[in-house]
């Protein structure tokens, strides 16, 4: 069943005690409430990642490789509603292109908690799932994840208006170079802003200390750390539990086999045993579907695991902004100090210049004049820079904080829904169990 992670609809409160999926919960195309209240883009356009296909081609080092491409379909909303939907616009893109898009967004909107992509490699796997990227189940879950990513971006007030993003969704170049132009544009845009972006990214990875850390951001970063740690742990435990539960159910299949063999040597008991055996087989088989559905909820958790990372990235970028501001302010301060020293001739603090001038005599008045002029210019520049950085920082903080609030609301809503859906799934699993064992009990009674 095609269901994006953002789908829900459980705001449809059913009668108390009714634990079946409400009609809206089971619909494929009901949007997350967060999406509905969202953006112009989503009001006009329907976006989906409809299919996945295998391709082979030559890669950068001219070697054959196999990869998967995903079909992005877009359609004007009114057309869908009128049920006269024309063929949607569509284009194929592979995972690495999504990565490029996301990196671009990260750099261009540093104050935004950018939605994460589905995982690059399968992690927190329990034994039945393969960790192979080519595995059809993995591909299918990735398809859902990519669709979710696009919808998240499309529902973000700032990101949805980005031109590159729009092109990513709709621009189709010539048959052989699908999406190349967008990729190039992303790269080139990247290069243009990369000189500052590169240094920024490098700086992000370096350690630096901020003198006056913003308490709120520090707390947020700490929260991101905690969230990441606790979700990782939960995913690990879940994977192990799933493994074990799989074992429990599957071993019951052996009952089926032995009952069947036993029934062959019994006269009166045979029929009861035989039919009980069938129910044991059914029980053993039922775990496959159960765990596949459970994987779905693991994916929801994973999304927020990666979101935690995005949150921390914003906090780090804030720190960097703060650091740059402090650096500029500090530079300015020291330049002003130098100016003062030169002007008044007093050496307030120890400096090599002071020493050498003491030892070797002062500079000439012309030299001093020149130096003072230079310092003045630098100070002017410095003041400009500080003003700029202040504004940048202020804007960053404002934007980041607004987005973090938005993110918090979304996370609370989504995760609460995930918990509810998990409970619904457990209920369905219990009901199946009751049915199977009641059936088996009936068969045993006829033994």
């Amino acid at each position: 069943m095609e269901r994006t992670m953002a789908d829900s609809g459980s705001e449809d409160i059913a009668v108390i005690g009714n634990t079946d999926l409400t009609p809206s919960e089971s619909q494929n195309n009901v949007r997350n409430t967060m999406f509905e209240k969202g953006t112009n883009l989503l009001k006009r356009m329907e976006i989906s990642v409809a299919e996945a296909e295998k391709r082979t081609g030559k890669n950068a080092v001219n070697m054959q490789e196999t990869y998967t491409v995903y079909l992005i379909e877009t359609r004007p909303v009114d057309a869908v509603q009128e049920a006269t939907s024309p063929v949607p616009d569509s284009l194929w893109r592979r995972y690495s292109e999504f990565e490029l898009l996301r990196n671009y967004l990260l750099v261009t909107y540093p104050y935004v908690v950018v939605p994460p992509l589905p995982e690059k490699r399968a992690e927190f796997v329990w034994h039945k799932l393969s960790a192979d990227n080519m595995d059809p189940d993995f591909v299918e879950r990735r398809r859902v994840g990519l669709e979710n990513f696009l919808l998240r971006v499309a529902s973000h007030p700032a990101l949805s208006n980005d031109k590159i993003f729009r092109s990513f969704l709709t621009e189709v170049e010539g048959k052989s170079l699908e999406g190349n132009r967008v990729r190039d544009r992303i790269s080139s845009e990247g290069i243009v802003s990369s000189s500052c972006a590169d240094s920024r990214i490098k700086a992000l990875n370096a350690t630096f200390r901020v003198k006056n850390p913003d308490k709120r951001f520090a707390e947020m970063k700490h929260y991101g750390d905690e969230l990441q740690s606790v979700i990782s742990q939960l995913l690990r435990v879940r994977a192990r539990a799933a493994d074990r539960l799989y074992g429990v159910y599957k071993v019951h299949g052996n009952y089926g086999r032995v009952f069947s063999e036993w029934s062959a040597i019994e006269k009166e008991m045979g029929d009861g045993l035989q039919s009980a055996g069938h129910h044991m087989d059914a029980y053993a088989a039922s775990i496959d579907d159960i765990l596949e559905e459970e994987e779905h909820y693991a994916d929801q958790l994973k999304e927020y695991l990666f979101y935690a990372d995005a949150l921390r990235a914003v906090c780090r970028k804030h720190e960097l902004t703060q650091y740059e501001l402090e650096t500029a302010a500090q530079d300015l301060c020291s330049k002003k100090q130098q100016q003062e020293e030169l002007a008044t001739g007093t050496v307030r603090t120890f400096s090599l210049k002071g020493m050498t001038s003491k030892l070797f005599g002062q500079e000439t008045p012309e030299q001093r004049e020149a130096k003072l002029k230079m310092l003045e210019a630098q100070i002017e520049e410095g003041e400009e820079l500080v003003k700029e950085r202040n504004v940048e920082s202020g804007e960053f903080v404002k934007g980041a904080w607004a987005d973090i609030e938005r993110f918090k609301e979304q996370k609370d809503h989504d995760l609460r829904e995930a918990l509810i859906n998990y409970a619904i799934m457990q209920i369905s699993m219990c009901k199946k169990g009751i049915q199977v064992w009641n059936n088996a009990k009936e068969c045993f009674s006829k033994m």
Binding site: I16, Y255, E261, L419, W437, M447
Partner: protein
């Protein structure tokens, strides 16, 4: 072979019991046997076989212990069956429980005793309630006696002797409880069996004070007679049985097949228990992780805590479900694994009895042949040397042979009766056992299915209440304006 036969002749005047004959006949006979008969019968004692033999029959000729003249084994068995039906119709009149294990410390050893409480309305018991303490060895003794007395009847197995396996201690609580349960079932099965429950050994087990029991135990079949039994059994099984009737071959085949199936079921169940235990261990970590998470959250804290709570409760239910498998289903299946050993032993003994019979028939045949040839032989020169007339010698030899043949024929008849009795006993007990097995295993599986249904129902309730609490809260929050 002849020697053994002779031994048997001397030691076992009664054909159908292999033991109990060293007990002096002064011992009071079972109540239901008329006193005059008990006097006539050689070495009569509390042999419970006699119960069957004598109930409802009118033995006017006390001399003929040989039932083939009076009542055929077939009619004996009819009485057995009749008695069984009678007992089915009657309400149960003997209730026995095994409980209250206690440690008993002496200078030499420490062991566990169990309390055995009997409530009965049977007339052969002096009072209506008894309470004694017994240890595992005492149960072993009882079963051994029953086995000796009834080689072809199927006796419920005892829990196994303690074997140093893994980390199970002898005084481990679970081990003791499992053993107690199994001992309880054992005694109840004996009590329900028409033949076993009417014997003196059983009665003494239930009622005797410790000193009494010890002295009674010492009166059991002596070492020599048991040795004789074992030697005979070995010889018989080496000899092998020639013409086993099809019905018993079928039983043997069934025993083999059943043994395989029940062992397989036991193993499968043990495996399920293991996997379930490991699943439970993992599940136990989910709750705490969620609780940890909820401590970092604000709005999400409550639902996360609720879910942590739900998961913890599910863990408890899983623990209980697992307990049922370990404490009930697995021991139940294990008992039937042990049963299959009993089945095979019983069939083997029946075969041995038949082998004995066949050997005796062979002996008779060869003696007859000898007689045939002897009557044609001319006297030897030696005899004439010794001074006896050839005719005299021949007559002497023939006379001797005839004597031997008569002896053998008598023994043969006894063996034939013994065989028939054993076969009939086995046949009815087999049917009885199969019925009980079916009931036992059926109810074991039904209980397990029931237990599993309850488990899922409880978990269902836990998740429904979680859902209810969350939806109620969402209902409350629904009016929050998200824009």
């Amino acid at each position: 072979m002849k020697l053994l036969g002779a031994m048997m002749q001397i030691k076992r005047p009664r054909f159908y019991s292999d033991s109990n004959n060293s007990v002096p006949s002064e011992k009071s006979p079972p109540v239901s046997i008329p006193a005059d008969i008990s006097g006539e019968m050689l070495d009569l004692d509390e042999d419970d076989d006699l119960e069957v033999f004598s109930k409802g029959t009118s033995l006017t000729d006390g001399n003929s212990l040989n039932p083939s003249t009076q009542t055929s084994p077939a009619s004996m068995i009819n009485q057995y069956k009749f008695q069984e039906e009678e007992e089915d119709a009657d309400a149960k009149d003997l209730f026995v429980t095994v409980d209250n294990p206690e440690s008993h410390v002496t200078a030499i050893e420490t062991y566990i005793t169990y309390r055995v409480v009997t409530k009965t309305t049977r007339s052969e018991f002096d009072s209506s309630e008894f309470e004694v303490r017994r240890r595992y060895q005492d149960f072993l003794w009882l079963r051994g006696r029953l086995e000796e007395a009834h080689p072809t009847l199927i006796i419920h197995p005892l829990p196994e002797k303690f074997v140093m396996k893994g980390m199970v201690e002898r005084f481990n609580e679970d081990f003791i409880e499992n053993r107690r349960r199994a001992l309880h079932r054992f005694l109840n099965r004996i009590a329900e069996h028409p033949i076993f429950s009417s014997g003196d050994d059983f009665k003494i087990f239930l009622t005797a004070a410790p000193g009494e029991l010890i002295s009674h135990k010492k009166q059991g079949a002596g070492f020599l007679s048991r040795m004789g039994e074992t030697v005979r059994a070995v010889a018989a099984s080496v000899r092998g049985v020639r013409n086993r009737p099809d019905e018993f071959t079928e039983m043997l085949e069934y025993s083999e097949a059943f043994s395989q199936k029940i062992s397989a079921l036991h193993k499968v169940t043990q495996r399920i228990s293991k996997e379930q235990r490991e699943y439970l261990e993992e599940l136990k970590e989910c709750g705490p992780t969620l609780a940890l998470w909820s401590s970092c959250e604000e709005a999400l804290a409550e639902p996360l805590r609720c879910m942590a709570d739900s998961l913890d409760r599910c863990c408890q239910e899983t623990e209980e479900q697992l307990k049922h498998i370990n404490d009930e289903l697995i021991p139940d299946l294990h008992e039937y694994v042990l049963c299959t050993d009993t089945l095979k032993a019983v069939l083997r003994r029946r075969d041995n009895i038949q082998a004995d019979l066949e050997a005796k028939a062979e002996a008779l045949a060869s003696k007859k042949t000898e007689r045939e040839s002897e009557s044609k032989v001319l006297s030897l020169a030696w005899d004439s040397l010794v001074g006896r007339s050839p005719e005299e010698v021949k007559q002497h030899k023939l006379h001797k042979l005839n004597g031997q043949i008569k002896e053998i024929r008598d023994e043969l008849e006894k063996l034939e009766d013994r065989q028939e009795w054993a076969n009939n006993a086995l046949r009815s007990d087999w049917t009885r056992w199969k019925k009980i097995m079916r009931t036992d295993l059926q109810s074991a599986f039904i209980d397990t299915a029931d237990n599993n249904v309850k488990y899922y129902e409880k978990c269902l309730a836990i998740w429904e209440s979680f859902l209810h609490s969350q939806r109620a809260e969402a209902e409350g929050n629904k009016n929050v304006d998200y824009s």
